[in-house]
C-alpha cells in the first residue's frame, strides 16, 4: 500500500515537473540561413535617438559607445581580445530608431558570440570611470568628425525641420554637451534593454538554434516598450553658416514606405550603374563641380526623401537646386518619357530587391517583427506604378511644404522660394 502510494506520488511529481516547467521567455528572435560561410548575430534594440527622454539629448549615442564594455561576465578588454581570438568582428551601429550590436563570426562560433552579445545587454556594469576614460572621448570624437561634414549637418537639420521631435532628434550627441551622469545612462539602458524592445536577428543560423541559445542567454525583464509620438511631417526651410556649401531639397511623408518616393529617388539618382557613363538622370547634365546625391531614408513610420547638392559656392547650389525642382515638376506634370520612368522603376526595384537580399534586409524584417508589422517588399508596388500614377504622387507630394536646408555663405545662399518652390 505504502509502496504503491510512494510510486503514485513519484509519478505525480515527475508528471507535474514536466507540466509546469516553462521555458524562460526570451526576446523576439528572427533568423535566416542562406548557407553562407559566416554567421552574424545582431541584437537590435529600440533605443535610437528618437526615444531619448527630454533633457537627455545624446544619451543614445553614449549608450552605443557603452556596448562591449565591462559586464558582470567579462571586462571590456577581455571581450575584445577573446573576439579577436575567434576572428570575429564586433560593431555597434546607431540609427534614429535602433541601436544594433552586431557580431560577425565564422559558422559554428555562435556558442561564444551570443553570450558575449548577451552580456552587453543583460548584465552591463556601466562603470563611471569607463564613461570618462573610454566612452566619452570616443563620443566626442565621433561628433566632432561628423559635424565637419556638410552632408551630416544638412541631414540633421533636415530631420529636425521635417519631423521636429522624435525623428527630428539629433542622431549623435550635441557637440557642446557635457558628459551625462552614469545614472542617466543606466536608467536609459534599463528602460531600453527589455524583452519588448529587443529583437535578436541572425544570419547564417537556423531559427531553432538561435531560439534555443537566446532563451538561455537573454533573461531580460519584460518591461514596457519605449515609445515616441507618431511621426508627423512638417517641413520648413533654414540656412546655416558652414565651410562646406551644401543644399538639401526634399520632402518627407509619414506612414509606411512608399513606392512613389523610392521611384522618385531612383529617378534623381545620378550614380551610374555603368562605369564611364554620365547616366540618364535629369541631374546628370549639371556641371562636374555640382555633385548631387539622392537620399531616401525609411523609418518605421515615415520616410525622408531628397537630394543633397554640394558645390564650390552658393551659385552652384542654386543651379543644383533649380535642376532638382525642375526635375520634380517635370515628373509631377506627368511629362516623363516611358523610357525614363521605366529606368527609374527598374532602378528602384533593384535597390529594394538587393536590400532584401543582404543583411540589411534581414535586419529590416527583424525590426518589422518587433514592431508587429508585416514586412512589405516594394518591388511589386513599384511595378504597379505607371507614369500617370507617379505624376499624381509627385503633384501631391509637392503640395506639402518642402524641407530645404542650405549651408554655406549666409549672404548668398539660395532660399526655398528662390529655387522655385
Amino acid at each position: 500500500m505504502l509502496v504503491q502510494r510512494r510510486a503514485l506520488a513519484a509519478a505525480i511529481r515527475a508528471h507535474s515537473s514536466r507540466t509546469y516547467a516553462t521555458a524562460p521567455s526570451g526576446p523576439t528572435v528572427f533568423a535566416q540561413d542562406n548557407g553562407q560561410p559566416t554567421s552574424s548575430i545582431t541584437v537590435l534594440v529600440k533605443a535610437g535617438s528618437r526615444f531619448e527622454p527630454e533633457g537627455h539629448a545624446g544619451i543614445a549615442h553614449v549608450l552605443k559607445h557603452f556596448s562591449f564594455k565591462s559586464s558582470k561576465e567579462r571586462s571590456a578588454l577581455r571581450t575584445v581580445r577573446e573576439a579577436e581570438l575567434y576572428g570575429g568582428i564586433l560593431s555597434a551601429t546607431l540609427t534614429r530608431e535602433y541601436l544594433a550590436l552586431t557580431a560577425d563570426f565564422l559558422r559554428g562560433d555562435e556558442g561564444f558570440f551570443l553570450p558575449l552579445l548577451a552580456s552587453s545587454v543583460v548584465s552591463p556594469k556601466f562603470v563611471n570611470h569607463e564613461l570618462h576614460e573610454l566612452v566619452w572621448p570616443s563620443v566626442m570624437t565621433e561628433t566632432a568628425n561628423a559635424i565637419v561634414s556638410g552632408e551630416y549637418t544638412a541631414l540633421e537639420l533636415a530631420h529636425a525641420l521635417a519631423f521636429r521631435s522624435g525623428l527630428g532628434h539629433a542622431l549623435l550627441n550635441p557637440p557642446h554637451a557635457h558628459a551625462p551622469s552614469i545614472e542617466a545612462v543606466r536608467d536609459y539602458a534599463s528602460k531600453a534593454f527589455t524583452t519588448s524592445n529587443v529583437v535578436i536577428v541572425g544570419t547564417g543560423l537556423t531559427q531553432e538554434k538561435l531560439e534555443t541559445l537566446a532563451s538561455h542567454h537573454f533573461p531580460l525583464s519584460s518591461g514596457t516598450s519605449l515609445t515616441s509620438p507618431a511621426t508627423k511631417y512638417y517641413g520648413g526651410s533654414t540656412v546655416s553658416p558652414s565651410l562646406h556649401p551644401t543644399l538639401f531639397v526634399g520632402y518627407g511623408i509619414a506612414g509606411a514606405p512608399s513606392a512613389g518616393l523610392s521611384t522618385l529617388a531612383a529617378h534623381l539618382a545620378v550614380k551610374p550603374h555603368l562605369p564611364w557613363s554620365d547616366g540618364l538622370s535629369p541631374l546628370s547634365s549639371l556641371p562636374k563641380s555640382v555633385s548631387t546625391e539622392s537620399v531616401l531614408i525609411p523609418y518605421s513610420d515615415a520616410t525622408l526623401f531628397g537630394v543633397l547638392i554640394s558645390a564650390k559656392d552658393s551659385a552652384g547650389l542654386r543651379q543644383g537646386g533649380e535642376a532638382v525642382v525642375k526635375a520634380l515638376k517635370e515628373a509631377a506634370s506627368g511629362g516623363l518619357s516611358q523610357e525614363l520612368a521605366g529606368r527609374a522603376k527598374a532602378r528602384a526595384k533593384f535597390a529594394a530587391a538587393s536590400l532584401e537580399e543582404g543583411k540589411a534586409g534581414v535586419l529590416a524584417k527583424g525590426a518589422a517583427q518587433l514592431e508587429g508589422k508585416a514586412w512589405t517588399n516594394l518591388v511589386d508596388q513599384v511595378e504597379k506604378l505607371d507614369v500617370k500614377a507617379l505624376g499624381k504622387f509627385t503633384t501631391d507630394l509637392m503640395k506639402t511644404k518642402p524641407t530645404v536646408v542650405a549651408l554655406g555663405d549666409i549672404n548668398t545662399l539660395p532660399h526655398a522660394d528662390e529655387i522655385g518652390l
Binding site: L77, R81, N128
Partner: protein
C-alpha cells in the same frame, strides 16, 4: 614603488580569515594605527599611500568629485598643522571608524586590470577539440 605594489605587502587577508589570529592581532593593529599619529592630523590611512606611480595616479582620477576634494582638503589641513608643529585639537582628530580605505579598492581594481592585460598579452591559445 614599494615592494609588493603600491599597497605594499600585507598579510591582512590571511589574518582576518583566521579567527583566533584576528582576535590577537586586532587590538595591536588598532593601537599601532593610533600610534602612527596621522589621525591626529585629520588624515586617513589611504592619504599616506605613495601616489607617484601610474597605478595610484590612475586610481586617483577615478575618485568621485567629493572624495577627491576631501582628500585635498585633508592634505592641506595636515600640511598646515605640520608647519605649525602641532596636532589638531582633540575634537578634530579622525575617529577610527572614519578611517575608511576609500582608495584601496580603486587601486586594487587598476592592478587587476593590469594583471588581466598582462595575462591576455602572454596568453597561450589552444583551440577546444
Amino acid at each position: 614603488m614599494p615592494l609588493g605594489g603600491p599597497l605594499g605587502i600585507s598579510f591582512g587577508k590571511q589574518i582576518i580569515a583566521n579567527r583566533t589570529l584576528y582576535r590577537w592581532v586586532k587590538p595591536v593593529a588598532a593601537w599601532y594605527a593610533d600610534l602612527c599619529g596621522y589621525r591626529k592630523m585629520g588624515l586617513r590611512y589611504d592619504d599616506l599611500l605613495i601616489e607617484e606611480n601610474p597605478t595610484v595616479e590612475k586610481a586617483l582620477t577615478r575618485l568621485n568629485a567629493k572624495e577627491s576634494y576631501d582628500r585635498v582638503w585633508r592634505h592641506r589641513v595636515a600640511m598646515h598643522q605640520s608647519v605649525l608643529h602641532k596636532d589638531l585639537p582633540k575634537a578634530q582628530w579622525l575617529k577610527p571608524q572614519d578611517d575608511v580605505r576609500y582608495l584601496t579598492p580603486l587601486i586594487e581594481e587598476v592592478e587587476a586590470e593590469a594583471r588581466e592585460r598582462r595575462e591576455l598579452d602572454t596568453l597561450e591559445v589552444t583551440r577546444k577539440k
